[in-house]
């Protein structure tokens, strides 16, 4: 089987066109997304915002390939996801996408360094090398001295740093985050956003971040605003700062 590899040269990091998704039985369907068009570039921190239930997580899951759309075209890192088998999707995701979740989703029975090494192990990197690289990244997020501790001994903000290290450790081109700051106080949320924005711009990565949290808006390069399963508007440049300054 051929392992799909990214085609970075081919335009934007993520290009979604006419994507629809509905849930539930035929006679009682929830239209989570209808005809969504969305794009995000390399080196960009792109926020997706909107009221609860507007379809943000659904869109993120479709980009991640953990959810299949009903219709539309999804290109991620130059590859068309609809052409992939489930197995190819899984491999592609493992190799090229990093994840950060609202609930951190660190495994509490493993040490920090083991948690962070998982994406590398899944790529077939040997344990010793994986843990070395994981340790180096933990040091970069300021947790190098706690590499052998367990996640539950850490504060929420520290846990989210570990999750960021885990999302970055295999150097993916695309990082998907769902509400990474909503479980954190504003100060730690600020630190986390700094890390993510830095990670995006420095590595030429694309970071897509779904959020409810107005404190994060000012970090964005662009903001896609959704409502009721549709994209309302895409803000960039000065419009982002204007939007961030508004009361929410």
């Amino acid at each position: 089987m051929t392992v799909p590899s990214p085609n970075v040269a081919a335009g934007p990091a993520v290009q979604v066109d006419g994507v629809s998704k509905s849930f539930g039985p035929k006679d009682n369907q929830t239209q989570a997304l209808s005809g969504v068009r969305f794009g995000a570039d390399h080196g960009e921190l792109h926020l997706v915002v909107g009221p609860s239930g507007c379809g943000k997580t659904t869109l993120l899951s479709i980009i991640a390939g953990t959810l299949r759309s009903d219709a539309g075209d999804i290109r991620v890192l130059g590859q068309s996801l609809s052409a992939f088998s489930d197995r190819q999707l899984t491999e592609f995701r493992g190799a090229h996408i990093g994840f950060i979740f609202q609930q951190f989703n660190l495994i509490p029975t493993l040490s920090l360094v083991e948690n962070v090494s998982i994406p590398l192990l899944l790529q077939g990197v040997r344990r010793r090398e994986a843990e070395d690289r994981a340790g180096a990244l933990l040091a970069r997020v300021g947790l190098g001295d706690r590499r052998h501790r367990n996640p539950l001994e850490l504060s929420g903000g520290q846990q989210q740093r570990v999750a960021i290290a885990r999302a970055l450790v295999h150097e993916p081109q695309l990082i998907l985050c769902d509400e990474p700051t909503s479980a954190l106080d504003s100060r730690t949320g600020h630190d986390i956003m700094d890390l993510l924005a830095g990670g995006a711009r420095a590595g030429g990565r694309c970071v897509i971040l779904v959020t409810h949290d107005p404190r994060t808006y000012g970090f964005a390069d662009r903001i896609t605003r959704m409502e009721d399963g549709r994209v309302e508007e895409v803000l960039s440049g000065a419009a982002v700062q204007q939007f961030a300054a508004q009361p929410h």
Binding site: F99, Q103, I107, L110, L121, L122
Partner: protein, 379 residues
């Protein structure tokens, strides 16, 4: 990833101990009960090891070594004349009553051997002289008999002591070691003619004919030929043991009661282990979902679950069987309860444990393969 899977399993100490404990308990109960059962069963065939002969000829209707029917005296010569029989000797075998000085009546297993050959002699002499068995009134008793018949004396019976069998004096000329019998009666060896004198008169006294095949012939061939030519039932020693245990299986409640315990152990083991494994699994399903989102394939997760299940199985099985072995080592010297741990019981228990693990792992695999990795995005 395999070390990650093992750490995830073992780091939850409480659950891990429950899991291993469940399997160990099931393994212990299955092998221990099986061991006691096999031990008891082996006691039903002790005659074959205390009175040794290649071929046992009995009355045609006899199906167990513990219930003989008398043969005609002429049957002995009929067996002797079957081609391939090297020699054949009579054996007297009956439970009878013995009375020691100032002691009560005690049932004993009286064994009468052919006086000239002493064929069927006790396997291990501890004291005294086998040859003196030919003296008047002479008997050789086993260690259990020294205790039982010595109760009135306040000490074990010794060589030179006397007691009565059916009001006739018996004098101890030797002490032997035997394997305990299911009925619990001590063995008293004497010669065939004295055994008859010790017993209340019956028309026919010959219980069993012991035979050996001529050189170059197998016991199986010769036994079959004796059966054909005399119409008697001729067993090999192993065949007689088998027939006897078959009889226990078919006609007593003993196997059923042990099987109940063993099955119960199996079920309790499954329930504890599978239940714990499943609740462990449910606690970790979010993490498994996260692994899936991060690119772990269904195949990899299945292998991890199998590894976890079989690790628990192997350690639990080892512990359970180890405990059984310790139990065996402790009780064996006392012969209470009897104990025989054979490889079949180990293999069967191993297979049962394998089954438990496989079922638990398959339940997990089924669930994890249907697990939607998108759950990790939900709060």
């Amino acid at each position: 990833m395999y070390h990650i899977a093992l750490k995830m399993l073992m780091a939850d100490r409480g659950k891990y101990i429950m899991l291993v404990g469940g399997v160990a308990f099931a393994s212990l109960l299955m092998t221990q009960q099986n061991g006691v059962f096999r031990g008891l069963l082996s006691w039903t065939t002790s005659h074959m090891r205390n009175v040794r002969a290649s071929i046992w000829v009995v009355e045609a209707r006899v199906v167990t070594a513990n219930e003989t029917k008398p043969l005609k005296d002429t049957d002995l010569n009929r067996v002797r004349s079957v081609p391939g029989v090297d020699f054949a000797e009579p054996l007297f075998l009956a439970v009878t009553k013995a009375r020691a000085d100032s002691g009560g009546e005690k049932p004993v297993q009286l064994v009468g051997l052919d006086a000239s050959t002493l064929f069927g002699r006790p396997p291990v002499m501890l004291e005294g002289d086998l040859e003196r068995l030919r003296l008047p009134n002479a008997v050789i008793i086993d260690t259990l008999a020294t205790v039982r018949l010595g109760e009135g004396l306040g000490r074990p019976m010794r060589v030179g002591d006397t007691f009565e069998i059916h009001d006739r004096e018996a004098r101890v000329v030797g002490i032997c070691k035997t394997e305990k019998h299911f009925f619990g009666y001590p063995y008293v060896f004497t010669t065939y003619d004295k055994a008859i004198n010790f017993s209340p008169r019956q028309r026919k006294m010959l219980s069993i004919i012991l035979a050996e095949p001529s050189p170059g012939q197998t016991p199986e061939e010769v036994a079959a030929r004796i059966g054909r030519e005399t119409g008697l039932h001729a067993y090999t020693s192993a065949g007689f043991s088998q027939a006897t245990t078959d009889f226990v299986w078919a006609n007593t409640g003993i196997p059923a009661s042990f099987l109940t315990t063993i099955t119960l152990g199996f079920i309790v083991g499954i329930v504890i282990s599978a239940q714990t494994f499943f609740s462990w699994f449910l606690e970790n399903i979010r993490h498994l979902g996260a692994l899936k989102a991060m690119g772990a394939s269904n195949g990899l997760l299945a292998r991890l679950l199998l590894l976890q299940a079989f690790t628990v199985g192997l350690i639990g099985y080892g512990l359970g069987v180890g405990l059984t072995a310790i139990f065996g080592l402790i009780v064996l010297p006392f012969e209470k309860p009897p104990f025989l741990l054979d490889y079949r019981s180990l293999v069967l228990t191993g297979l049962a444990v394998l089954l438990i693990c496989l079922v638990a792992a398959l339940l997990g695999i089924r669930k994890v393969s249907r697990l939607d990795p998108a759950i990790v995005f939900r709060g």
